[in-house]
Symmetry: C2
Subunit: 506 residues, 2 copies
């Protein structure tokens, strides 16, 4: 590609947008805040969906579908919830367009205006409509647990948007479960966080912290929110997934009671949990480099690009034959579980209007994990050249790989790349994670170079808010694995039960 | 299940709703016209999606995602299109809720009202937003063809709804392709109709007529619409899928021009095509019987239910062991392509709170293709009993099937059931398809017993409208395979080029 992308050092934000543009992942649309997910970007999301969906089903969940519309009166029922979402929701008030009196253009038909009671909100999240439905599905403890997930679109009227990371409409999954006991519901919330951690680390090769949010950062309507939190290459945090223990809040709001094994009427216990197309943004920011997109092989829509090199017609015949045989050889290796039983996708790039150098760049830009170069001289030696996307330049190239062994070698590279992308990202995160003990040091570090600041906090909302106001850093996570260590709050000097992780976040 | 479903003879409409209710497929929601798709119903839709998606990808299509919202001004651009959809669309006019002045409840914030130019419609179909996007993607003939599909929800504000068949919100896929020539676009429209026919007949086991719609029935904005049309068990027609040749209508409305190989600026040619969750309704109405749901095995979420029968504890151990071994034996048979590389799903129904008879009924109601009965006496003989869902009573049972051969036999039954469901549906359709040559006969037959009336028609919209007004029958399809036969219009006696198919439709 002749098109240049900005380097991370030059302009990190622009680098991110350039990758999305030149790797053909998404576009801004002409609809305020909404994006168009282009085929290559959507293919990554489809891979993510397949991976997550299997993890959900393996833990006993089933999919269902609930309405896009939420009656306004449902939103009103849970006080914290409405407080959290009313400010940014799209409201449907009419159900017909008619020509304007002048004749030019259309207008909502005043005769088709919804009454106050009928007005609808586009779901920003579906707790309310789902718990209104669960009321009809849950009568007895025998109906529990209810372990349901839905894949859908939601709308939150965001003013400042950024492709994938924050858009007014986004795609996500939202799990909504109902349980007979508090213990079961809390176990479920933790189980699903662990599913998210597994997906983030084993599929996305993106290391994450896990733990609860502080009260200031929890989901509106939750008792507590657990999260997975990742670090991007500019050392900012990305909240990548959340799992909420909702207590009996929604059961009470929608009067969902069941008869327990002991014959008592009790409110059901709830969880909800979700991840979204934001993960695609996280994937880009975790692995990509100044040459373009880098994808972990388990989520790559195309795994191998074979670029045949030839000038003369007789070369072309021989080279294409070898390329197609090699492709067939790679496709014949089943990767089972590791690829969700999907086939390995191999492209033989036989386009004649482009030169090999152009093709190399293009596959690099698009994040294909392994590139194979195959020319007449290679064929003479029954060999080929392999280039792995995560190691730039000559170091990432293997010359003279025998064709017979190439499929096996390519699989080895894919598997090793999956691991080393994770290791590399983890090394980066660890390099920018510090214990910080003095307020001046905190203020300086959070500015430059940024990262995860492990600091003591007195546990109050007031302190959290003051720190955010002064530094833009928020508490990202109270890590499960934090050391047992009492101390003094970085800001107030009040007693602290342990360190929490502060960072600037997307 | 103690719950009774109405028979088809008693009340066909209620039978359909009873099946949906008792097989746990869907529920009406508290949102006007919108349904909740329950896990068992959604699992069928997921199977359909997998099947269709592969057929789309095998014909070179990729998935993408476009915004839920369509600016009102986009809808205005194609005259026929707006005429078709303006009357039934949901309009977003505000983006924030605030507490009502009194304090109780919420209202749209007047300060967050969208201006006339900003008002948004929830997509009823996405031609306009997609062609507005294609404008940026198509510059040269090298950018063509563009073969894109999207899976999403759409909203059409229907006043009279029926679960799956007609709902205000529904799930569907919509393909939108752009081509350099009229010929290529028309070939695409026909290719996708053939994909739909393949899916309907080979996966859903639902025979369909294929051919164009009359002008009166075409898609608003299309040059012509091709359709697949099925017959339900009450002899009504169901439009199951449509594929539209859109000519240059949307390219002109959104100014999508490209430079041809000859260097000329030309408008792109378009198709669009879609099927929806309506197919689930068609599936139910095609195969189900008075005992409940019947599913073609290729789309069944659960293929085999094994019901272990035991009284004493030592029986239980032996029977469950045999049941689990049998299940493992069935799961080990790969069905590849035939099941989209999905595994065969086998349930061992070891619930202790229900009697075997209850379980038999429940699996029957839920449409599981093969039921296995396995008790102590069977085990003594190393055998089991197989019951196939599509043949009721004793005729559908095979006694004393050796356990060792049972997995293979079950696969044979699944495959044979797939075929015989299609044959049975086709026989029914053929039995209620008639050539009709007199108007009084037409009027009588369309009332009772209904069906597909192959009749001559003079080709005018006026006649089509008069026939519809008098009999409620519409032209469903001008079948590709109709015999070459000139004749006289059934109503007007004017010359006709061939028979068309009339029916009452859902």
């Amino acid at each position: 590609m002749a098109e240049k992308i900005k380097t991370r050092a030059e302009d990190y934000s622009q680098w991110y947008l350039d990758i999305i543009k030149h790797a053909n992942l998404a576009d801004n649309s002409d609809v305020r805040g909404c994006m168009v997910i282009k085929p290559h970007g959507y293919a990554i999301w489809e891979k993510m969906q397949r991976g997550l969906d299997r993890l959900f089903k393996d833990t006993g969940h089933v999919n269902a579908y609930f309405p896009l519309f939420i009656p306004k009166r449902f939103l009103e029922k849970e006080a914290e919830h409405v407080e959290g979402f009313a400010k940014e929701c799209a409201i449907v008030t009419h159900h017909r367009l008619i020509p304007k009196p002048g004749g030019k253009g259309l207008m909502p038909d005043p005769k088709a205006e919804l009454s106050d009671d009928e007005q609808l909100v586009i779901r920003p999240t579906s707790e309310t409509i789902i718990w209104n439905t669960y009321k009809n599905w849950i009568q007895s403890y025998r109906d529990l647990p209810l372990l349901i997930n839905q894949w859908c679109n939601v709308v939150r009227w965001e003013m400042r948007t950024r492709l994938f990371l924050r858009t007014a409409e986004f795609l996500w999954q939202e799990g909504h479960t109902a349980h007979a006991t508090q213990k079961e519901a809390e176990e479920e919330a933790h189980r699903m966080l662990e599913v998210y951690r597994t997906f983030a680390e084993d599929w996305m090769a993106m290391p994450v912290l896990t733990g609860p949010k502080s009260d200031g950062q929890k989901f509106p309507g939750a008792i507590y929110t657990l999260c997975i939190e990742a670090m991007m290459q500019d050392h900012r945090a990305l909240q990548a997934g959340t799992s909420h223990f909702l207590g009996q809040n929604f059961a009470k709001a929608f009067d969902v009671k069941f008869q327990s094994a002991e014959g008592k009427l009790e409110y059901a216990w709830a969880t909800s949990w979700g991840v979204s197309t934001r993960l695609v943004g996280g994937l880009i920011m975790t692995h990509s480099d100044d040459q373009g997109l880098v994808l972990p092989p388990r989520l790559a829509p195309i795994h191998v690009a074979i670029v045949p090199i030839f000038k003369k017609p007789e070369e072309k015949v021989a080279v294409l034959k070898a390329a197609n045989e090699l492709a067939a050889g790679i496709r014949a290796i089943p990767l089972g579980d590791w690829l969700n039983y999907d086939p390995i996708v191999v492209k033989v790039d036989d386009r004649e209007q482009y030169q090999p150098g152009y093709k190399f760049n293009e596959w690099e830009l698009r994040g294909v994990p392994v590139r194979v170069e195959l020319g007449p001289k290679d064929i003479e030696k029954n060999a080929c050249v392999l280039a792995r996307r995560d190691v730039p330049g000559k170091e990432g190239k293997e010359m003279g790989v025998p064709l017979a062994g190439a499929p096996t070698r390519i699989i080895e590279i894919l598997k090793s790349m999956q691991t080393s992308l994770f290791e590399k990202a983890k090394k980066m995160r660890d390099a920018y994670s510090y214990e910080v003990n003095r307020w001046d040091e905190f203020k300086q570090k959070i500015e430059e170079p940024g990262g995860f600041l492990w600091a003591h906090w007195d546990g109050t909302r007031a302190t959290e808010d003051r720190i955010a106001a002064e530094t833009k850093a928020t508490i990202r996570c109270i890590p499960f694995n934090r050391p047992q260590e009492k101390g003094k709050c970085i800001l107030t000097g009040e007693p602290s039960e342990g360190r929490v992780v502060f960072a600037k976040a997307y």
